[in-house]
Symmetry: C2
Subunit: 208 residues, 2 copies
Amino acid sequence: MSRTIRDGAHIEVARSAARLFLEKGVAGTSGDEIAETAGISKRTLWRYFRTKESCIEPLFARMSQNLAAKLQKWPLDMTVERFLEINYDMSKIDAQEIEDSKLVVHLIARLDEEPALLEPWFMSTRATEDLMAGVIATRLELSPSDFEVRLCAATVAAAMRVIDETISRAAVKYGQVPTLAESNDRLAQAIRRASTLSFCDPVTPRGR
Amino acid sequence: MSRTIRDGAHIEVARSAARLFLEKGVAGTSGDEIAETAGISKRTLWRYFRTKESCIEPLFARMSQNLAAKLQKWPLDMTVERFLEINYDMSKIDAQEIEDSKLVVHLIARLDEEPALLEPWFMSTRATEDLMAGVIATRLELSPSDFEVRLCAATVAAAMRVIDETISRAAVKYGQVPTLAESNDRLAQAIRRASTLSFCDPVTPRGR
DNA sequence: CACAATAATGACACTAAGTGCCATTATCCG
DNA sequence: CGGATAATGGCACTTAGTGTCATTATTGTG
């Protein structure tokens, strides 16, 4: 593993860190421990990550990237509701991904008791915001740095965050695991209501 | 200064920290330096704040608190636009507060080059979110922990954050300082468009 | 005013997070 | 194979942050 194949190594470490954080708390987990559990040296750990907390970021990032991969295929002539419906059904095939999702859900559910997890979570929301800016810009033929686009991306990302937090907490703390259809509904509805620009409905390329 | 009068001490330290961060960068500023500049011992500094970065939080908190103080006086039968209009005009009298605002604006404008400032800034947004949840809950006679209220608070807080970032950056980096009326307009408009519940218009107490 | 109770601070030693530096090892490409 | 380069590990070192205890300031009460 070297040259450029380091990408896989990072998320491995993130899984170790997440399990340790969930089991013993962030404060109760040392950097040395994370390194040891992940099978790398201390020095390499600190080359991979700037802080102990940021070790779990690749897990959040993976969720963002999954979302991004899907959203890039969102046809211009389709509503959010329909898009989420047909997309979330078929895609979850990878066992590893399910395992990662579980870790993420548990991490999010602990945000209250573990304020140290807030920073990586907010960083992830920020990434989602950038991502949504790209999607919105594409659909409406605007620039991703346009003020209106940024505003809309921020409100939508915030709504998605609240949905994630609500569902994760309900699942972990009260055992209320929603069906895929229910989650999709909630997410789509929240996104639609949160948007300050109408990118959720079919858009017609204005050019040519 | 003791017993419970510590509140003033914290923001004094925050001002010192902010100036140092702006002058030499976060990485270039040590905890010892902050303590020395603020005239307190290292040990007391770490009792006041958990991390170096969080030293500036009281400055952000002060802005939130100002806003809170105003919003609590928002009459039920008034629109946001009108409320912001009559409120932001008269209130800015304190010289210290103006000085603090300047520091905050400069800090926000540096978010791109100083990612270490993101955490306290996000924490502040989180505080604003809680604050708005309270305001919205009051106006609509709902619980601040109600899902719909949380969602709306999150989108509104996100919009306010984008406005703050946009205005601060424009002011510091491009010298575009808007008038109070312009800022108010932008803020009110963003809040209104971001809200998923209609708390911006006059609400009628439903009881009795 | 004096005195007890308690909160705030400082001094100092200590743990752990994170970096700099250099030697070693793995990988890629010709 | 062999040289260039990227990744890693080991170790010393800096600095962020904590635990402990003695000292000082503050408040309330008789």
